[in-house]
């Protein structure tokens, strides 16, 4: 079965847009969206509601927003770097922040890529296509 893409995204609109964009970009992986960093950590750690790995399989790609309630994207990145079993999971930041400091910090914490959320739909689709070919093509 195809492993999903886990997106941590608190903005519901963005989540809907992301789903549509994945569809348009013909990304084969199912998209699982969690509401914040804490949920992402729980999912990846198989904690609580996500304990069942068969219902909640480990993703092939983690898309992280930076600014989220409870636990931010940076904290997720930090947590991730402390989990050797998740070393293979690429985490890519998808944020509206254009601040160089945010970009530098994310990459420093182990993010494999940093993308600013495009404002226009077609540009977003382009981005999704890029992600698919970079991270999600079957080996």
């Amino acid at each position: 079965m195809i492993r999903p893409v886990l997106a941590a995204e608190d903005e519901e609109s963005d989540a809907v847009i992301l789903a549509r964009v994945f569809l348009r970009a013909q990304v084969p992986n199912p998209l699982i969206v969690v509401r914040d960093g804490q949920d992402a950590i729980d999912y990846l750690g198989g904690v609580g509601a996500y304990a069942d790995r068969s219902a909640h399989p480990l993703p092939a790609l983690l898309l992280l927003d930076l600014k989220m309630p409870r636990v931010s994207g940076f904290e997720v990145l930090t947590w991730l770097s402390s989990r050797p079993e998740l070393k293979e999971l690429p985490a890519v930041v998808l944020s509206s922040s254009t601040h160089q400091s945010d970009i530098d910090r994310a990459l420093q914490l182990g993010a494999r890529g940093y993308h600013i959320k495009p404002q226009a739909l077609d540009r977003f689709v382009e981005l999704a296509k890029g992600l698919r070919s970079r991270w999600l093509q079957p080996r």
Partner: protein, 716 residues
């Protein structure tokens, strides 16, 4: 050396001695003459006695002859002798009458001789008449012989006394002559002595007189030379007040030369007035004649020279007289006191400055003993001058710091340059006095260090002001800190806001735009009217524009708020990068030429990128429709800064709009896509790098933007 009266006494003494010795010799002479006369007389008397006696004997002898012979011839010598005896008797009587012989002796002798002759006559008569035997009988009777013996005895007695007198006279004559010889010899000796003394005396006198004469002429020379060369003016007059001598300084001061002035009355040459009253002053010669002793001129005397120039003088006038003699001239000595006056004035001025100075001005000797103490010092420290002058300056130092005085003097001795120091001193009442002190060396004429002058300024108000200032400074710093903190907080807040804008506000916008787009795409598959589809399109465009606006605002705040270090940036490299990166600047869209090597400026790469991307972006954007943009970039050096020109062939900018050009959200031309933020960002970033930006432009003739930035080489 004997005085004249002594010499006179000596002479009188010598004359007296001569007189006395002459009188003595004369008297002795007289005595000697008398004696020899008496001697001769006595000898004559003795001779008379002898003749008398021998005549008596002769008479006896003639009598004997006749008696024996009866020859009448023998009576002849008898008669002769009898006559002689008679003569001699008379002579002896004369002598007795003169008193030379004792009268009774002579009378006795004469009567004896009468008796003898009577006896002789009788015998003779007897012979003649009686014969021989009778005569002889008479003779044999011995009366004749007894008479003869008595006569002889008498004569002998008289002769003896005469001989004694003769011896007496001889002795007298002898002793007086010896005395006379001695007196003469003594007188001679005395004269000799006197003559030799007088000779010595005379020759010495002559010699000293010659020397004195020589000395006098030398002194005259010396005095003349001295008078000519001394700094004082000297005028000599005769007793009548007419000038006889004028030295060089007097010539200078009076304006008269010696030959002109000689013989003139003093007031004509030596014109003096009182400096203040301008009253002519009394001729000093008259004053001398009146008072007869040395006089000085009154103060404030001014000498007016022949040319009318004036000089303050002080002077003295002295009479010239020979010892004991009347005055025969006056010498006037005076001195130009202009310089002295100036010096006194300067000294007085300095003293007044020192005395009136608000600062304490004190001098100490090299032992640290106070020498002078001005009014300022009295006020500051409370010591009266009499209380502290002559005492060690260390009393002015707080307890335990007395060694400071010696240390300061030691520094002076070592020749350390004087400097201002701040310190704490102690007043008489023990109060602490903060002072600023300046210590300077005092040297005597030979340049030897003799002490120090110390100027002490009371800096109590300054210290108080400093403290206030420090407090104020502290307060200010605290305030600045406070404000900086609040400003920083505000900036953080703003950054948060901008972050929020970039993240939170763009998210709904993105939703609007994207969903409208989705709607638009889906509608094309059917289900919506053309009108609805157009609405969707407009929503998409509006959202896009708003997003761009937000983007610009973000860039602007970033340009303003971001902390960016300045470093050398090679503009040629930067521009090449820009031209490669931006599709709008590619040769197919525009003709952008960078001329030569651009300057290396002191700036920030990110800010410079914003600056030039905006300028170039404008240059290629604002061209007339259908015109291919031609942009020229060049730089020129100008006083340590570089001016970079960006020149285009665009539509140009009206002069009246140029001032608004660099404002925020200023759009000049609505026909062009844009939000009026670019040039505002350009100006902001250029100013942040310490530069300036401007434009020269005319509508239709293109624009020439310039940016001045500091050159990196100068800063480095």
């Amino acid at each position: 050396m004997l005085g004249k009266s002594a010499i006179r006494s000596v002479f009188i003494g010598v004359v007296l001695v001569l007189f006395v010795s002459f009188a003595f010799v004369y008297v002795m002479g007289r005595i000697a003459v008398d004696s020899s006369r008496r001697l001769a007389y006595q000898r004559a008397v003795l001779l008379d006695f002898n003749r008398f006696l021998s005549s008596v004997k002769d008479a006896e002898t003639g009598q004997r002859g006749y008696l024996l012979t009866g020859d009448e011839r023998y009576l002849e010598p008898y008669r002769q002798a009898k006559a002689v005896v008679r003569q001699e008797s008379a002579a002896l009587l004369r002598l007795a009458a003169e008193g030379a012989l004792a009268r009774d002796q002579v009378a006795r002798l004469n009567s004896l001789s009468e008796e003898k002759f009577v006896e002789l006559e009788r015998t003779i008569d007897l012979r003649r008449s009686g014969g021989l035997d009778q005569a002889l009988e008479l003779v044999k009777g011995g009366s004749g012989k007894a008479l003869m013996d008595r006569i002889r005895a008498e004569v002998d007695r008289m002769a003896l006394s005469e001989t004694r007198e003769l011896e007496d006279a001889a002795a007298t004559a002898d002793s007086t002559s010896t005395l006379r010889t001695a007196a003469t010899a003594l007188t001679f000796l005395f004269n000799l002595l006197f003559l030799s003394w007088a000779y010595r005396r005379l020759s010495r006198e002559t010699k000293s007189r010659e020397e004195a004469l020589l000395e006098t002429s030398r002194q005259k020379e010396l005095i003349s030379t001295t008078l000519s060369s001394i700094g004082d003016g000297v005028i000599v007059t005769d007793a009548g007040g007419r000038i006889t001598f004028l030295n060089a300084e007097a010539e200078r001061l009076t304006g008269w030369n010696h030959s002109e002035a000689a013989g003139r009355p003093l007031p004509e040459v030596f014109r003096i007035v009182n400096e203040q009253t301008r009253r002519a002053l009394e001729n000093p010669v008259d004053k001398i004649l009146r008072q007869g002793n040395v006089v000085g001129l009154e103060n404030h005397t001014v000498l007016i020279s022949r040319t009318g120039s004036e000089a303050p003088i002080d002077d003295s006038v002295a009479p010239i007289r020979q010892p004991g003699a009347a005055l025969f001239g006056v010498v006037l000595v005076f001195r130009d006191v202009t310089r002295q006056r100036h010096a006194e004035e300067a000294r007085a001025r300095l003293a007044a400055i020192v005395e009136s100075s608000g600062d304490a001005i004190v001098t100490v000797d090299m032992d640290g003993i106070v020498q002078t103490w001005n009014e300022g010092a009295r006020t500051l420290f409370g010591y009266e001058p009499a209380e502290i002058i002559g005492h060690p300056a260390s009393v002015l130092f707080p307890l335990g710091q007395a060694a400071e005085v010696a240390a300061n003097l030691e520094r002076l001795r070592e020749g350390s340059p004087s400097e201002q120091r701040q310190g704490m001193l102690r007043s008489k009442t023990g109060q602490r006095v903060p002072v600023l002190s300046t210590l300077s060396p005092l040297r005597n004429v030979e340049g030897r260090l003799t002490g120090a002058s110390v100027i002490l300024r009371d800096i109590t108000p300054i210290v108080a002001a400093q403290e206030t200032l420090a407090r104020g400074h502290h307060e200010l710093e605290r305030l600045v800190d406070e404000r900086t903190t609040s400003l920083r907080e505000m900036i953080d807040e703003l950054q948060h806001v901008s972050y929020a804008i970039s993240h939170d506000m763009r998210a709904p916008l993105r939703a609007m735009g994207t969903f409208a787009q989705m709607l638009f795409e889906d509608a094309q598959a059917g289900g919506l009217s053309a009108e609805m589809i157009d609405y969707c399109r407009r929503i998409v465009i509006g959202a896009g524009r708003l997003d761009a606006l937000i983007n610009d605002a973000l860039n602007y705040t970033q340009a303003v708020l971001q902390h960016l270090p300045l470093e050398p940036v090679n503009l040629s490299t930067l521009l090449r990068g820009l031209l490669d990166t931006y599709p709008n600047f590619h040769p197919d869209k525009a003709d952008i030429r960078v001329e030569g090597d651009l300057a290396v400026v002191l700036g920030n790469e990110s800010l410079l990128t914003q600056c030039f991307s905006n300028l170039l972006g404008n240059a290629v954007k604002f061209v007339a429709p259908g015109v291919r943009p031609i942009v020229r970039v060049r730089s020129e050096a100008k006083d340590g800064s570089a001016r970079i020109w960006v020149e285009d062939n665009g539509i140009g900018i009206p002069r009246n709009s140029q001032s608004r050009l660099f404002g925020m959200f200023q759009k000049l031309d609505t026909t062009y896509e844009g939000r009026g933020v670019g040039l505002a960002i350009v100006r902001k970033v250029v100013e942040r790098m310490g530069g300036k930006v401007g434009v020269e432009s005319e509508p239709g003739k293109g624009s020439r933007f310039w940016v001045d930035l500091p050159l990196a080489t100068v800063a480095a």
